[in-house]
Symmetry: C2
Subunit: 599 residues, 2 copies
């Protein structure tokens, strides 16, 4: 038996809007309702599976529909269109009966099943990305991305009068832009560069009087192989004139609130805001995960008379201190094994840097430090660290470095506790946080007498520190702000330097850079540049946190592998010498590697 | 006298939405109204000019405001903020009185004045683009672009359920993609390529069940130096599943109507639609400008007994014909000079290809052909060509080639008439037109026995021609459609081949290409690909026609020069040998050109 259904669009043109407008179908699988009983409708989609020799389970992006049909007509995964009658079942549910079917395409045996419970290797998913994207999770991720971005645009463009301006991606190499891809031009020796962000353009647009700019900007970063980084990524790029930090922060809080998925708990604003100094002091990191406590505590006092050699040494250094974190229930049976095992390994490799103290059920301490501490000190330690029986204390002594060390251990312990089944962080919680008042300059690693920009050379100083720019630049705090979500930096920006003389001073005198390389920007600032500032949000990272994806690859339609490869099309690929000629370049084959050249 | 105004954002936070939200200002210059009388408001902007030693004319993106103030406070183009009082003048108009002023920045002497009537050279505009963008025309163009794009997104996303999906720009080189920029990777000899369009990705997204995709896609094309082309440009990229030509055309007509600027006359739909064959027959071009007539006419009949050698020869060829266009009033005094001069030059260089016939006031002909034509033929010629006294006829004889020739002359004559002050085309008219039923394949120029795709190899044949694909492929018409506006192609698309076997046949048997280079696409089609089709609109070109700009550079914030240069930052630029090392490439300096390498 073979049903033939000839496509006749005029028949289905009843939808003028929505997901079935202008289509062969009249409805999507997911939207059939008891109200449709008696209607003749047309569905288009794929055969997901066959059931009881009687039913076809049909899939489209909206869901599944069960259709009563002679089974021998169809095979798995073929694209089909059904004209069906919707009938009411005695139970009150609806059922759909095929009137006619047209098989629109056939299907080879697929390399994996399109079922959510079928686990696929990452490389298989990437190689057959067009099948992987059929999964309900990936459909959800990409559709949520589209909706979120649409809401962001509405907010910026329609609510706040921002202008969406596209900026070039074929640009000039930034001085020292080691992570910028180069693009050879047809002029010998001349190259474009793919910029890491539209930073210069957004500032020039403010000089141009655009007043409020935004762009969903494609950015490029060549970092070779780094896990969970992509050579191209997208940022929500924003710049405003006549604005201060509070204005930008308010804008972004509104943006997040406006675009937040309706199915999630609403976000409350304003977001908490802490200084860089406080973040380092309490969390040992500039992007704290505030979903849980376990803050760093300064317990130097406990040991100010100590005879314990390494603690004494630490306190005798300038800026020396003793820090601790208390892991609640970290010493109880279920957690102890993994935590203590982890800490033991850690202490084995870095013996002097971290000491582990278990607080036993009776309040006694179990630690190599135990016998070296007088009872009063033990008492004070427990009090200062607010430790209770069953808790585990990690103690580190030194100067600056002990805070970041404990900051990392804090996060690792949280993960270890969670993997032992202890609830540390609410998986449905979203903790936004502003971090502000960063230092404007940091000593260069390779030459600590020299300063480099903590973020970039265009960040303005805090007004109250501005006078130090010409005397004590290392003490200047910048008007930079980071937006942190659940311990990940999802955005950063600043109020910019808008006076050419200040910008020239920063580039030339403080950073010892050649200002002629940025002469166009300096000239622009000298053309009556308005006060301005902005921010960039990392869209891929933001989305991956919202949907709870383990990798940003799960919110990008066609990502590259961690080695930067497109496994589906096999990019990057070899290009013939002949094709490179018009770009006046030749490949320098590493010795012994020239065989690769073939193909 | 020096007024100092300290910025206090809380004071101006009364706007929670609109162009002044979150800003230092409370109003824009353009929005002050009599209703604001008595208010104290804050404006931020630039000093446009000074007047009568008393007034400052202040500019922001919204317009100008005249402010009463002691002049010695401010200089031209400095960025300033004023706190002002709005007072009512006896005339009923409002005037604003400065209460305080803060000078936010200073300004050097600018290379040109920011006044619309000041003509600047193209290269000066490009070098100081951030000043050029301050002009009211460029502000209008960029703001209109942003609004139009926002409306397009609302229509696609909110009205029709499209999903905005970003596709990669670092991709694999397309077989034969001579116009694709290459991007060296860190693996020796391997290159990414910047694609000319997301064609493969949009089709893969249909296989992936995304159902309706759109993207404002950045595309790249390396064509060296071509006037009014840009190495990177933006297309509105659309693809739909389960759709036919009528569905896509209806979608685009709705899209244009929905996003059309409110200040222009509304667009009526559906757009007229003609076949490729008819376009070539009537206009001699596949993108006719239908704002004026002057259509091509077949006047072969008039000469079927002619003794004029070259006309006789033309008619004796297979497919030979004689074509004419009639230029109304082309022979009257004011036009004659330029038109006849132009035609004379033309005929001088291509003597046999075009003959000029002037219809004198008394109906007599003035032409080299005149004495060779019997009176009856002259009569018939005037009748067939619907020529009246004062008109000018251009006649061409031959086979295929005479139509495109007259098609070009038709456009050039229209321009010449307009430059002589004759109204030919309404400058405020927008004539949209669909052109359909293109041939699917064309003979290759270099080897006419071989076929190549008229557009691209993924276009499906017309259903009624599909059977010819395996027998007479050169006769097959494709399901391709072009959208033409005022004689410019602003978009093109097609219903795609969705069966792997058909696609393989086209690639391998008809086009003689290696199908393994597109194996991932063939495999995808073989995975139950739905019927699908799409379109891409050239956003830059579309906008330049809407705003009446002479070049697409006028609707792009930071365009490249026609040689592909960024004159502001001087890109592309030299890159050191050292920086190229990690990409395993070296520059092949042309002989004698190595001096350039310095810098």
């Amino acid at each position: 038996m073979h049903f033939k259904f000839s496509l006749n669009v005029s028949k289905h043109s009843t939808c003028t809007t929505g997901s079935s407008s202008l289509s062969f179908r009249s409805h999507t699988c997911g939207e059939l309702r008891p109200a449709d009983v008696g209607e003749e409708v047309t569905l288009c989609g794929w055969v997901q599976y066959l059931r009881q020799d009687l039913f076809v389970i049909m899939r489209d992006f909206s869901g599944l529909a069960q259709i009563l049909i002679p089974q021998d007509e169809v095979r798995l995964h073929v694209a089909v269109t059904f004209t069906i009658s919707v009938i009411e079942m005695p139970t009150g549910e609806i059922e759909v009966l095929a009137e006619s079917v047209e098989i629109l395409n056939v299907c080879r045996k697929l390399p994996f099943e399109i079922k959510d419970f079928v686990k696929k290797s990452e490389s298989l998913r990437m190689q057959y990305r067009y099948l992987d994207l059929r999964s309900s999770q990936m459909q959800y991720n990409l559709r949520l991305r589209s909706q979120l971005v649409m809401k962001m645009r509405e907010y910026l463009c329609n609510v706040h009068g921002f202008v969406d301006v596209e900026t070039p991606t074929l640009f000039k190499r930034t001085p020292g832009g080691a992570k910028e891809f180069v693009v050879p031009s047809r002029e010998p020796g001349r190259f474009y560069s793919l910029p890491q962000s539209p930073q210069q353009f957004k500032q020039l647009l403010m000089v141009a009087g655009i007043d409020r700019y935004f762009q969903l900007a494609r950015c490029y970063r060549d970092e070779g192989s780094k896990p969970d980084r992509q050579p191209e990524f997208t940022q929500v790029d924003i710049e405003m004139s006549f604005v201060d930090q509070a204005g930008i922060r308010g804008l972004i809080e509104g943006l997040v609130q406006y675009s937040w998925p309706v199915e999630k708990d609403p976000v409350s604003t304003p977001f908490p805001c802490i200084t860089y100094e406080k973040a380092m002091k309490d969390y040992g990191v500039d992007k704290p995960d505030t979903r849980f406590a376990m803050k760093l505590m300064d317990i130097s006092k406990t040991f100010h008379n100590t005879e314990i050699e390494f603690l004494k040494d630490a306190l005798n250094q300038p800026g020396g201190c003793i820090q601790a974190i208390c892991i609640p229930d970290g010493a109880v049976k279920e957690c102890q094994l993994s935590l203590v095992f982890f800490c033991d390994i850690f202490v084995f490799f870095f013996p002097k840097e971290v000491s582990v103290v278990l607080v036993k059920a009776d309040g006694a301490l179990k630690s190599p430090l135990n016998r070296l501490m007088p009872a009063s000190a033990k008492q004070q330690l427990l009090q200062m660290a607010q430790a209770r029986p069953g808790d585990l204390l990690l103690i580190s002594a030194g100067t600056q470095e002990c805070r970041p060390l404990l900051g990392k251990l804090r996060l690792q312990c949280a993960e270890l506790l969670e993997s032992s089944g202890v609830a540390v962080r609410d998986p449905s919680a979203f903790h936004f946080l502003w971090v502000v008042d960063f230092p404007l300059f940091l000593p260069k690693e390779e030459d600590p007498d020299q300063l480099e920009s903590a973020h970039h050379p265009f960040t303005a100083p805090l007004p109250e520190d501005a006078h130090l720019l010409y005397s004590l630049p290392h003490k200047v705090r910048g008007q930079h702000y980071d937006l942190v979500l659940n311990g990940c930096e999802i955005g950063g920006g600043s109020i910019r330097i808008h006076k050419a003389s200040d910008q020239q001073h920063v580039l030339e005198t403080i950073l010892k850079e050649d200002p002629s390389l940025l002469s166009h920007l300096l000239e622009a600032l000298d053309s009556g540049a308005p006060p301005h500032g902005g921010i960039a949000l990392g869209l891929d990272r933001f989305l991956s946190i919202i949907v709870g994806a383990p990798s940003i690859r799960d919110v990008i339609a066609f990502p590259k592998s961690f080695r930067g490869h497109d496994l589906m099309s096999r990019a990057p690929d070899f290009v013939s010498e002949d094709e490179l000629k018009s770009y006046h370049i030749a490949v320098n084959w590493p010795a012994g590697d020239e065989g690769n050249q073939e193909k």
